[in-house]
Symmetry: C2
């Protein structure tokens, strides 16, 4: 039987609860659709850091490279390890090492979910550059601790990096409603963002069937709230995509509903699937985290593996569950109850 | 009679329409409250650029320095002059030269205005660092035009710059409901944002009466939509403040309602007051721009000049106008009609 090797990285806090839920759903989907998962779970996390002095072992990336995909829960527990250490020790290096340059996040309201906006008609696909830009990790501090201290942080954009994410955006727009919004801030950031706009402009000639519009990040943030139905595919830099996808999560009812895929489109290394939410240490292990975002991320993994029927069935099971009012109201149902409902809706 | 010297910079597009409206209201407020305005208007704009090759004359900053305050409309007309040129030639240099390091933007719903959120209970004051950070203008491009091209943009944060804006934030929080939210992204930007967080942490000891919380920008964007009533004063870097204040404008019903003040708190140079909206070339001179944001910015100018009674009266006149349904629905009323209504509500 076709078997997919999946690495599980539950990580910290509620990451563990929701990964377990997603695993159960994925395994049932596999059983019903004629394939198998061989999963290996790795305890890399802030606890692991406290014990070993690093977020993952030296050969962590090598270990992960032999899998077909990675399912991640959440990383970070600021009271144990500063986020700037934990994220740069686990999540961000995986995205970079495996050239998962496209971070895809769908934003729409699940049935039964009430969002914060009066308007509930929108279906947005955000695509975030995931390997460089504002999160390049380049920078430093001089005269540290003195009155003259200066901190610099450098955003680095390469032509290759910008071109490939924009092409990915154009392709996605072509496969959807044909509209691409490219987000920059070229009126205030004259180097990086003007560069991005120029490449958008140039590539648009190759995709005459896609209607591309450039927006400034501030205007786009406002648009996502005032006119989300005017958007189809949105492509943005690492930071801007990060911000817009939390905003997307907000308009879709909260982080409990926001799924994501860190895709290596060339398939030269595994892709990684994770809910947008963080580890939420305050509610860790209380059994009240909403697993919908993690399960939805699992459906995106199925899609990526080519198991489109199983993916569609998982999505249908999620939708049937929230439509029944289970898992649709943040904080109302327990993780278990939501997972069971999705499992029983799945066939 | 007490006379204030005001420089008017109508700028481009609808900036001209709304500046005229604000001027009329301010002049009536002065007349009724026993002071005068001596205004001088300067045509610095994209048209000026096309004629003179620069957005303002070489002695522009010197000219403005003799005024008590500056009232600006909007700058930019991308089809005439790239924004990266026009903004860096007029708006941004004024903010920097006059050390207007605090950009203040109030976000609340005016009476009669329906926002996009189901919830309409919020009263947020955003404070944006206005002179450095992500908009320092430092960067460059190498291997331009080739496949190996790299663009870099460097955010520069100085201790002085960060400390003074945070102190300003703490003071504002103290004068309001005592809550300060400081916004960074220190989990992904390890130099600049960790630096900001450290200073926030250190200063908090000096303001024991202020409850300060640090948020990541992505989480804050979501919070402004999901729980805006949980926020009081929000302080953020140049870019993050820029994004959050457009989002703030969105939740308050649109850019037609969003006012701002670029403040030099030391009063060593003039402060500048401007609506958050841009020049909107597509509706320039059609007489349909909403002047409320510009008039509200004028009220902030009165406040800054110490004319608090007049400021309160202008705010009351704005509120009486929108409460009557005039200017409260984007696009419904003409600039003239809204201005007349505010003028007649003003006494
Ligand atoms: C935890 C953090 C580094 C991460 C990011 O900003 O990439 C998260 O916010 C996300 O959106 O996946
Ligand atoms: C026009 C632009 C440079 C400006 C800014 O980003 O500062 C504007 O968006 C604002 O918010 O005042």
């Amino acid at each position: 039987m076709k078997t997919y090797k999946i690495a599980l990285l539950p990580g910290d806090g509620i990451g563990r609860d929701v990964t377990e839920a997603a695993k159960a759903v994925l395994e049932k989907a596999a059983a019903r659709n004629g394939f198998l998962f061989a999963t290996s779970s790795y305890p890399w996390s802030c606890d692991y850091y406290l014990e070993h002095g690093s977020m993952m072992p030296g050969n962590g990336i090598k270990t992960l490279s032999s899998f077909d995909a990675i399912l991640l829960g959440a990383v970070g527990w600021p009271r144990k390890v500063p986020d700037s250490v934990s994220l740069h020790g686990l999540l961000l290096p995986i995205r970079k090492a495996f050239v998962q340059y496209a971070n895809i996040r769908p934003h729409r309201l699940l049935p039964g979910v009430q969002g914060p906006l009066r308007s509930d008609k929108f279906d947005i696909l955000c695509i975030r550059e995931n390997t460089e830009g504002e999160y390049s990790g380049a920078g430093g501090r001089v005269h540290q601790g003195t009155d003259s201290e200066v901190a610099v942080e450098t955003s680095i954009f390469t032509r290759k990096g910008v071109e490939r994410i924009l092409r990915f955006g154009f392709e996605q727009a072509r496969a959807r409603r044909g509209k691409l919004a490219s987000v920059t801030k070229s009126n205030a950031q004259r180097y990086s963002m003007v560069f991005w706009d120029e490449i958008t402009q140039r590539l648009s000639a190759e995709y005459p069937d896609v209607e591309v519009t450039s927006y400034h990040i501030d205007a786009m943030a406002a648009r996502m709230v005032m006119a989300p139905d005017s958007l189809d595919v949105v492509v943005a830099s690492n930071l801007f995509g990060d911000i817009l996808t939390d905003l997307g999560a907000a308009i879709q009812g909260g982080l409990g509903f926001a799924a994501s895929a860190n895709i290596n489109p060339d398939r030269s290394a595994p892709s990684m699937f994770e809910p947008v939410h963080g580890s939420a240490p305050d509610i860790a292990h209380l059994g009240i985290a909403n697993p919908i975002a993690a399960i939805w991320s699992g459906a995106m993994m199925l899609e990526h593996l080519g198991e489109t029927t199983a993916a569609a069935k998982v999505m249908a099971a999620i939708e049937a569950t929230t439509a029944r009012g289970i898992g649709s109201v943040p904080g109302k149902d327990r993780t278990d109850a939501i997972t069971s409902a999705v499992l029983s809706a799945l066939d």
